[in-house]
Symmetry: C2
Amino acid sequence: MKIQIVVYPDVTALDFVGPLQIWTAWPGAEIEVVAETTDPLPTDSVMSIIPTHSYQTAAMAPDILFIPGGAEGNLRAIQNDALLVFVRSRAEAAKWITSVCTGALILGAAGLLKGYRCTTHWLVFDHLKGFGGIPVAERWVIDRNRATGGGVTAGIDFGLRLMGEIAGRETAEAAQLVVEYAPKPPFDSGSPENARNETCDSIRAALSDYLRTLEGIMEAESARLAPMTTRDEV
Amino acid sequence: MKIQIVVYPDVTALDFVGPLQIWTAWPGAEIEVVAETTDPLPTDSVMSIIPTHSYQTAAMAPDILFIPGGAEGNLRAIQNDALLVFVRSRAEAAKWITSVCTGALILGAAGLLKGYRCTTHWLVFDHLKGFGGIPVAERWVIDRNRATGGGVTAGIDFGLRLMGEIAGRETAEAAQLVVEYAPKPPFDSGSPENARNETCDSIRAALSDYLRTLEGIMEAESARLAPMTTRDEV
């Protein structure tokens, strides 16, 4: 059971540490944390990490290929050809192609979500369509061999669900008990439906630069791809 | 707002990345990830991290002193004099003295839980008494300036709750929405009360060496401290 977690500069730490911790309790799992090089890699959360593998040493055919998300770092990632080439190369033989949060935008930019039901962080939910994905408003979505999770903390639910799908419910339940996952949020503000309007507005405002840049990238990309699409359709 | 996260070899990654990610959305927070040195530090989850500060460079008076847990690494930590001296030194001026999971055992070994209501991972819940703590079976417990969380994933609930306590509910609610914390566990196996008996037994069996070693350490410690206690009481 080979699991490949692909990280990149300024990745959101909890996006991948949630599933990583769950899968660490997976008997027999070999987990690779892969980046372009094994130099220290900054996350979005003061801490840098040391990847275990580089693009050169990463397994060719992982059972699970998993891409976590990020904010500014994600914008650079979806334009990073070396990263997209690597993701496509491992996706060819991977049994499962998966993401959490804005990691879905990287799968999308790599052309791996076309025609798939999928999900991502609430803030960029509608943007999945720009990559040919079919957004579904669930905590996690499984469509054929694509498994995608919502924003950040959804990685824990996603990680358990995928583990249950592959290894069986009892194995996943043991992992859940090890990490004492009996959540009890002290506030009810975890989704735009539940949060106060002012809270949503403040986050949209704080991330308005991120959203504007993302939309610019997607427009440029779609302009670049448009003639091809037309030619294909003729 | 200065937050000091104290890590040590083989710390459980999600124990501290949960609160770290929540607190990264805390406006004005300065977060230190502190270890004995700033050399790469292995976690329990294949990935190593780079601490931002060493014992020498860490702030003297953090607003929050926070200790995450671990399994084998935690056993070494509760016997590590340099770590306990560091924790005591920062606890002297810290506004809040806090932990998640078996981080509570480190606070306990440093003598910082005596007479305090507190919690930890379900597997070692009763052991808090051995350090003079008063175990309370809650997801998080706040008693005066001690805030403790349950096992691993409880760090997210703990982190939000403490943020709400200090910075106000609205700030914590915004952090909750950023990380889309609307948990939806796919299975109901996150606590010994909910999990199947066989699941609990399998985890107790897998961690029996850990528990036996912990109990040995606590017996030796209590034998060493017993004469002092008697002298004090006479």
